[in-house]
Symmetry: C2
Subunit: 191 residues, 2 copies
Amino acid sequence: MARNKGEESKKKIFQAAAELFAHKGFHATKISDIVAKAGLTQAAFYLYFNSKEEIFEQMLEDFEKQLIHFSDAGKKVADIQPEHVKDHVRETIADILKFLGKNPHLTKVALRENKDDRLRSIIVEKIAANMSNNQRLGIVKTEIDTQFAGEAFLSVIEHIIERYVMTGEKTENELADQVSLLFLEGILNKN
Amino acid sequence: MARNKGEESKKKIFQAAAELFAHKGFHATKISDIVAKAGLTQAAFYLYFNSKEEIFEQMLEDFEKQLIHFSDAGKKVADIQPEHVKDHVRETIADILKFLGKNPHLTKVALRENKDDRLRSIIVEKIAANMSNNQRLGIVKTEIDTQFAGEAFLSVIEHIIERYVMTGEKTENELADQVSLLFLEGILNKN
């Protein structure tokens, strides 16, 4: 019971920090802001974390772990019948949007606020590596600069999460359809 | 001669403001920062401007005027032989990137810092209106959500200016080739 209460407080602090980092930025957010938002004391904060940097690092780690799943989906393209590649990619895009849409604050913090762009680079490199592999397999067109395509894809994903998912204007499935329409003809070889 | 010197000081203030707005943000930039960067006095500032808001408004206006040119290029697609549409669009994309790349600070200020997103919305609506018109003419696929496509296109342009043009990693022509490869097959009907 005590442990559950502790876990709950920790989660509250984490959630409050994510929201504040997203709205005010990491640097402008003070520990006093975080505990006030979480409805806890400064002492409670230090029970679970040593610093706000520690929360930030943990956020990035969690985010990274969850994103590996989507990177694996990109690898699987090679095992799929050519006529189903588009549907598979479209499904993966919808899943990515759903994951990011469920974690809008984390998404903003991880992809925007993170000044050294470490996580952004990791994601771009993973997308690019998968695409380069699919290029060698004849699935992706050889003319495509896969790093560029990764950067372009990620900037679209980031923007539409903020513009359409967070405003509730479009669903993740509608967006996945449009992203697929825009990009897939350009990227994939005709089978 | 006196007038030329005045024009030069005004230009220096404008340029310094653009750089500071881009790096520190509009709100964090003080008039004292601007004149220090421009190598002028606070008194000189007030000879040419009433406030930093006035500079900001003027920046957006200049930017908007210059962007109309590209919007007109989008309209012209209808007058072009079907087999030349892709080349025309590719050229227009290269021109847009060259314009934005020559004005990186202004680009950042106008598209990012501008909190009410007025200019961004104007640009997206113009792209969407041109695309919808080209949809009626059978040039753009009917399945494309033109507002979405405008948002996606603009977020890619914004990002690649920062990522590749400002770092000197790729030329505007290389980028225009890649943007065209990624998007045009998805957007344009086959002729």
